[in-house]
């Protein structure tokens, strides 16, 4: 039978081994697999080279065009101070439309066209990805209002009546 101290030593050693391995794994995974975020302005200022990156901004009005093959879409992503053309082959997410915030992951081609491997969808049209909001803010173009207003606005202060006041009436 093992003594209590010896057992504790084993457990601690195992735990350290586990943690060490996990730390080593995590670090090496981070080394290769994190993806940096660029705004369209950043892409011009410090090109990412051959690395896979994420870009975000608004889909420029009137910029969406379909290529002849019917599956490839080219559109412009803008933070209102710089613009980058993006090419994507496949089915775009349901909420993709002009004037909406969008996040795309892929590589910047030598011709300056960003080839997207993935265009991110969101579930809610009133939601703007924080990166997009940030990119717009940095370019000084942030307007919290997003397109696609609901039929009935309750968020404007005038017609919002709290339960407490209703109770008093």
């Amino acid at each position: 039978m093992m003594t209590r101290k010896k057992r504790r030593l084993y457990v601690v050693l195992l735990a350290l081994l586990g943690l060490g391995t996990a730390a080593a794994l995590t670090l090496s995974a981070f080394e290769e697999n994190i993806v940096f975020f660029y705004s369209p302005s950043d892409l011009g200022a410090r090109p990412p080279g051959d690395r896979s990156v994420r870009i975000g901004g608004l889909v420029a009005e009137g910029s969406i065009t379909k290529q002849a093959d019917g599956m490839t879409t080219v559109f412009q992503v803008t933070d209102m101070s710089a613009t980058v053309p993006v090419r994507y082959t496949g089915i775009l997410p349901d909420l993709f439309r002009e004037g909406q915030g969008v996040v795309a992951e892929g590589r910047l081609g030598p011709d300056g066209v960003f080839v997207a491997r993935e265009v991110l969808a969101r579930h809610d049209e009133n939601y703007m990805p924080p990166e997009v909001a940030d990119a717009l803010k940095r370019a000084g173009q942030f307007k919290p209002e997003v397109p696609g207003k609901p039929v009935y606005e309750t968020s404007t202060t005038g017609d919002k009546v709290h339960a407490t006041t209703t109770l008093k009436q």
Binding site: M1, M2, T3, R4, R7, Y10, V11, L14, A15, G18, L19, T21, A22, L25, T26, A29, F30, E32, N33, I34, V35, F36, F37, Y38, R54, K66, D69, G70, M71, T89, G90, I91, L92, D94, L95, V103, L120, A121, R122, H123, D124, E125, N126, Y127, P129, P130, E131, D134, G148, P150, V151, Y152, T154, D159, K160, V161, H162, A163, T166, L167
Partner: protein
């Protein structure tokens, strides 16, 4: 009038929670039985009041009372009844009410079924449960009141987000919450034991049914969520390593570890402080999951529009709960007596290894999920996506599943690996067969697929090898084996089922991750596309009308050679009220694979459609395996051992809150 009753009931519930969270503590420390006993009626009362509020809110949705702000924002008079009801928890305010129904329901269940728990411990457990309730009720009443009225009331509402109008998602949140909230009982037991300064095997036994309920519900909730993502989002993926998904995976990993370490406490009176810590952390991770989903601090494809003030409030709640309990842990953990000793190679040893691997996995997911936030503070915008997690998963999953096969064979205290391993011979043989099959069917690359197929077979066969061993299958007459099988404790069957279920799910994950065939192209009506030995034909595209949407429906026929396999309809829905488009994938399942078609946009010239076709081998097994795991959990829950000394049946706590939620 009815919303006011609901609102009033919420306030009453808060008052009862305050009573439940204070008097029993005082009673327990002074030995005042009457004050301790207050916990029980307070827990019942709180549950009743919140149940009333929930019914009132459901009523408002069912009759489309558009004077309530949440009803306007999340409902529409034309919406089908199922989604009117599920709309109750399809939004922030309503989901909090559901959360509280479950929290107070668990409190009431502990009060009702925990007859054999010593009175002081029970009073303290209910007290902690009451305090958690106070936090959430305050949060609800101050920042997210579901009963806010709007005057004048509009004629109709904004509709529920169409993506949520789906049967899979209608019941996904209730299960997920039942899981999250179920761990609050483990948390309360841990905090109660720390205040008490005493943890013994009986404590482990009281804790286990609650952890089992929570674990089974969370497993179900996660599986439903991933199933929904698979067929509703139209990307054909079932797991995206999205922060919101990770938020539910982390408590699951920690909860699975807790489930196993509680066994060691119960059987061997060891790992006590660790189990307490796990119970605290599991609930903390559940709260963090809520925080991540509600606050919008992380970019997520699943994110919904959020209010930062609410995020801050949940963060404060999280800090209070975790900070308070960790402080308690730091002050009291050393007073707990150290229990039984064991050799590194033993059942306990295997369970320790299980706990280490699960905790490390949890940490890895946590780091990957929060790293973007941390680096953001230093001005770097990054995202950590699937590649990071896919890189690490094998390193943790392989040893975990290997140990899972061996663990149940090891005796307690000390084991002889040399004597145990030969008994796994048949399982090992079947594993090799599975690898050879994968090699024959899909070739040597990717190698990881072969490893995965082997692991799945190992988990599955190992689980049943253990049962076969215990009933001495083929070593004694079959009839004797069967009678041994019938008298095995249900817990043993539960373990085997849950482990086998994991094996089935792993097979599904491996199949669809490595052997998927995909085709994206433009198809005109009448066009044919070959895929994985099948032929997809686009027969027709029609415009149809649903109750609150219009669709463009593409009908595909799938043939295998000349044999008709199936005719399936893929839809593009347009919800005019919400101004949103959704994709309804068409799926034909054969149980060993799914044939999956998505109809995309019409091409510029108007003659063709972009379509996406998939052949997903083994994918249904992911969800089938999850269901088997849940059944394993429920079977364990029905084990006689967990009811000993408890006159009432244990199954009731599972039902109670769910039945409430479905009202």
């Amino acid at each position: 009038m009815i919303p006011e009753i609901g609102h009033y009931a919420l306030v009453l519930a808060l008052l009862m929670a305050v009573v439940q969270g204070t008097l029993p503590f005082v009673g327990a420390s002074r030995g005042n039985v009457a004050w301790m006993e207050v916990a029980r009626p307070a827990a019942y009362g709180q549950f009743l009041m919140i149940g009333l509020a929930f019914v009132a809110l459901t009523w408002a949705f069912v009759v489309s009372d558009f004077s309530l702000q949440v009803v306007i924002q999340n409902s529409h008079s034309l919406k089908p009844m199922l989604y009117k009801v599920s709309g109750v928890w399809g939004n922030h305010e309503g989901s909090l009410v559901l959360w509280m129904v479950m929290l107070s329901g668990f409190g009431a269940a502990v009060a009702a079924f925990g007859r054999n728990i010593p009175p002081t411990l029970k009073a303290r457990v209910l007290g902690v449960q009451g305090l958690v309730g106070v936090g959430f009720l305050l949060f609800m009443l101050l920042t997210s009141n579901p009963f806010v009225r709007v005057f004048p009331a509009p004629a109709d509402g904004n509709d529920l987000n169409p993506l949520l109008q789906d049967p899979g998602l209608a019941f996904h949140p209730p299960f997920l919450y039942l899981g999250y909230v179920g761990f609050s009982v483990a948390f309360s037991f841990a905090a109660g034991a720390l205040i008490e300064g005493r943890v013994d095997p009986a404590w482990g036994r009281w804790l286990r049914p609650w952890v089992l309920i929570a674990w089974a519900s969370l497993t179900m909730g996660i599986a439903m969520g991933s199933w929904w993502a698979y067929y509703e989002l139209g990307w054909g993926g079932w797991w995206f390593w999205d922060p919101v998904e990770n938020a539910s995976l982390m408590p699951w990993l920690a909860g699975t570890a807790l489930l196993h370490s509680a066994i060691v406490v119960e059987k061997r009176d060891a790992l006590k402080t660790w189990t307490i810590l796990l119970a605290v952390l599991t609930f903390a991770l559940s709260l963090m999951g809520t925080f991540l989903v509600r606050s919008g601090v992380l970019t997520s494809v699943h994110a919904f529009a959020v209010d930062p003030a609410r995020g801050t409030a949940i963060l404060i709640l999280l800090l209070l709960a975790v900070g308070g309990s960790l402080l308690l842990y730091a002050m009291r953990a050393h007073t707990l007596k150290v229990g039984g000793v064991f050799a590194p190679v033993s059942r306990e040893g295997a369970l320790v290894l299980n706990n280490l691997l699960l905790s490390v996995s949890c940490a890895v997911v946590l780091i990957g999920t929060l790293m973007p936030l941390v680096l953001d503070a230093f001005g770097h915008k990054i995202s950590v996506g699937a590649p990071y997690f896919n890189f690490i998963t094998p390193f943790l999953a392989i040893p975990l599943i290997l140990v899972m096969g061996v663990g149940p064979f090891l005796p307690w205290k000390r084991a002889d690996l040399g004597a145990v391993l030969p008994r796994l011979g048949v399982a090992a043989l079947l594993t090799v067969v599975a690898i050879l099959w994968a090699l024959w069917a899909h070739g040597v690359k990717p190698v990881m697929a072969l490893v995965g197929a082997g692991l799945a077979a190992w988990a599955f066969c190992g689980a049943f090898a253990e049962i076969a061993e215990r009933i001495k299958l083929f070593r004694i007459p079959l009839g004797d084996s069967l009678s041994r099988a019938a008298s095995l404790p249900r817990g043993a069957w539960g373990t085997a089922l849950a482990h086998a279920g994991l094996g089935i799910a792993v097979a599904g994950m491996v199949g669809t991750s490595f052997w998927l065939s995909e085709e994206i192209r433009v198809m005109k009506v009448g066009d044919q596309t070959p895929l994985a030995g099948y032929t997809f034909t686009l027969d027709k595209v029609e415009e149809l009308r649903g109750p609150n949407y219009v669709t463009e429906t593409g009908t595909f026929t799938i043939r295998d050679g000349d044999d008709l396999v199936a005719t399936i309809d893929a839809e593009q829905r347009w919800y005019p009220v919400a101004k949103m488009k959704t994709t309804e994938a068409a799926i034909h399942t054969t149980f060993v694979s799914d044939l999956y078609a998505v109809l995309g946009d019409r091409t510029e010239d108007g003659t063709g459609w972009v379509v996406r076709l998939y052949h997903h081998p083994l994918v249904p097994w992911i969800w089938f395996g999850s269901i088997v795991m849940v059944l394993g959990g429920l079977l364990s829950l029905s084990d006689r051992r967990l009811r000993v000394g408890v006159p009432q049946k244990r199954a009731a706590p599972v039902r109670g809150p769910v039945a409430q939620a479905a009202e």
